[in-house]
Symmetry: C2
Subunit: 443 residues, 2 copies
């Protein structure tokens, strides 16, 4: 749908046409179409959305637009919206709204919903409890397939997913039945005989990244969430798990480039906030790098005697940094995907040592040959070649060991990425280089 | 389940106990349990898996184990397995097997399956066609809800997902009905009146990354795949889309650390293959970095006069590299998530210019103050401060512009990440630094 045409139709108050357009469009696309409207147009357009789509369009809109709509809605409109919103979307909304609007919403919902919302708002950020929804299909083990289907027909329409049904007894989870099993089984089979009793579940405090990993590992559609006393309190659905996966990958990538993670998109973040997220690590790394500078001054005599030595500093530093960040990146990603654990430390070191030996020798031969051709100086070729091999080995060892130790002591391995590794490796490569040079050139 | 105990039970031929263990375990966990067995134990254990779980366990196993089993299976065992495997898993298997086993499998399946498999094998790698399955629930618009449910009960058990039903007429896709709609609607409602006709679909040639993005954007469970003539040929299911998301994020992260992407895990890859994936970029970057070295030799007189100048080279190079990779990382991730497009070039440049100005000034003040305190040299503080500001601005501009141009000319933006940006920025920062120094110190 062309946005200009849509805005024109709105301005010309051609409401019938607007309504037919909204009627055929998908909720996600409507939300993105509305994002370009001004406040007055937004209020107008939102009220023209078919009632059965309004809540889902709303939950797909940006926070600023949601805030505006909650502000201008009448009591009745707000109540209608909240009735149709899933519980997890309502909680997401409340987490973003200013306090006066939060109060307005809590005054509008029923007392039981209010206590539920307050409970959900108290779950730690990024925990299973904070992304779960409390609406799920709940059946008894004594029901038949036909009775369960009838139960779903009555109650299912307001549940976020009905494709996994939970067999409970006094809020204790006994088993799981998929809608597929219900739809393909005999009507009078008992749920007790159909249900799966090996259940994969999480706790309200489980980290959302661990939750998402269970979804990919077991190809789940939904995952039950239990409280501390093993009572079932909600489910996480696959769409929220997919969002978490994308969010967590972005967070890792951001940290790996020495920035503080940020939940907003690039353009949503102001210039000042961008600067704030980037400056801390830049300062830390800048001052760490001065150590390398201080070491260089110790070898002033060496490069006063052979000024050419200075020319190889950037090449050695960059190559060391690249070798180190290759290793750290692979290890960080492996840890994130649960493929590498701390117990694998020695396997990793062995592997990286082998790789660094091959890589170091190839780099040394290539650069040594170049130096021989350009400067006809065997000693120089030898100094650079040996320095490259030493740097490659050290860089890869630092690069693979640090993320594993970070994980071990409870830090996020992602901070042990390229920038920090590069700074550490710089110091080492300069030391290796000048020591080899001083020895071979007898400086 | 403890692996040692399991192996012991197998060796003691306590098959009844082994069978009960396998009976309660999840398919994914069984596959991982089997991965530690030797060939003989594997063959034994696999034959003890309950028949209704065997195919799913098989599709979760590593290729080497699958290959071994296909080799030793009898005709009858192979046929049973292939009957239970979903079509997309069969095709995945064939893509990995050696030619003689591929022939064995193609000889075992029915003629119609064989022609279908051959067709699927021909879809380009990483396309929607290569990850789709051909088994989906197919209904007619003239059916009622009750008739559709009866149809699913008959045929659904062999379909990978029955939660989205496709309304077709002579293989043309007319609409979509979710199982939720079927389960919560009146029995005699016509499918024609229930189906959704605004359909999100992809083509067999659509890239798998674009497919995965549609799943997250629209929270889909399955996505229909059409051929060139708009006939429906299959569906992609959400579990495969989740795998693609993880795979693509890993590929981007690997490329961003100057390595060739690799579909195997860290430990599955041999030392030699690891070295091969890393050496090409290391060589390219090493030789590019010599440019910076060559530039340094041009300013030999400057650092012969003031040797202290050399000490600041690592700090300037690292800071420039870090500034540049922060920007390039954000832009690369933004492009991957479809949040930043080439048309945003000037908005991005404007933003990064603002950020680099703030960041540059803060870095300059911090380091300038340090130099004043340590060396009591205002000129030196000024040289370093100005160089830092110039480097920050240039680094951030290079870092944000290159990924966008890479995207524009059809390259993967991920290669314009930290390592390449660092090498480019090095040259610029050295030039800025020595030019400012020569001017201010009148060298």
């Amino acid at each position: 749908m062309n946005k200009d045409i849509f805005v024109k139709l709105l301005q010309q108050r051609q409401f019938k046409a607007v309504r037919s357009i909204l009627d055929v469009m998908n909720e996600v696309d409507i939300a993105s179409l509305l994002s370009d409207l001004n406040d007055r147009e937004l209020a107008l357009a939102f009220r023209l959305i078919p009632k059965d789509k309004a809540a889902e369009v709303f939950s797909n809109m940006e926070t600023s637009m949601q805030t505006y709509l909650v502000e201008i809605f009448s009591e009745k409109e707000l109540k209608e919206l909240l009735d149709d919103l899933y519980m997890d979307d309502t909680v997401d909304l409340l987490e973003e709204l200013p306090a006066n609007l939060v109060k307005r919403i809590l005054d509008t919902v029923s007392a039981s919903d209010r206590s539920l919302i307050n409970q959900l708002l108290n779950h730690p950020e990024d925990s299973a409890g904070s992304i779960m929804t409390t609406e799920y299909v709940d059946i008894r083990e004594t029901m038949t397939v036909a009775e369960s289907m009838a139960h779903i027909k009555q109650t299912g329409i307001h549940k976020e997913t009905i494709y996994t049904c939970y067999v409970t007894d006094k809020r204790k989870l006994l088993g799981i039945v998929s809608a597929k099993d219900l739809m393909t089984s005999d009507d009078d089979l008992l749920i007790r005989d159909l249900m799966e009793t090996e259940i994969i579940s999480v706790n309200t405090h489980t980290d959302q990244e661990a939750v998402a990993q269970l979804f990919t590992k077991y190809d789940l559609l939904a995952l039950p969430v239990l409280d501390q006393d093993s009572y079932m309190v909600g489910i996480v659905t696959f769409d929220d798990a997919m969002d978490v996966m994308v969010e967590e990958a972005t967070e890792d990538i951001t940290k790996m480039a020495a920035m503080s993670p940020n939940e907003k998109t690039y353009f949503e973040t102001s210039i000042f906030d961008h600067a704030r997220h980037r400056i801390i690590w830049l300062l830390i790394l800048m001052f760490s790098a001065t150590v390398t500078g201080t070491i260089i001054t110790k070898y002033e005599d060496a490069f006063a005697a052979i000024p050419l030595l200075v020319a190889f500093i950037p090449m050695l530093m960059d190559t060391g940094g690249n070798c180190g960040s290759q290793s750290s990146t692979l290890i960080i990603r492996g840890i994130a995907l649960n493929e590498i654990r701390f117990q694998d430390l020695f396997r990793v070191i062995f592997k990286e040592f082998g790789v660094s030996l091959i890589v170091g020798v190839v780099l040394a031969l290539a650069n040594g040959a170049r130096i021989l051709l350009m400067y006809h100086d065997i000693s120089l070729a030898l100094v650079i070649g040996l320095s490259l091999i030493g740097t490659a080995i050290l860089a890869k060892l630092i690069g693979c060991v640090l993320p594993l130790f970070a994980k071990r002591i409870g830090l996020d391995p992602a901070i042990m990425a390229s920038p920090l590794i590069t700074t550490l490796v710089d110091t080492c490569s300069i030391l290796i280089y000048f020591n080899i040079a001083t020895m071979l050139f007898k400086l």
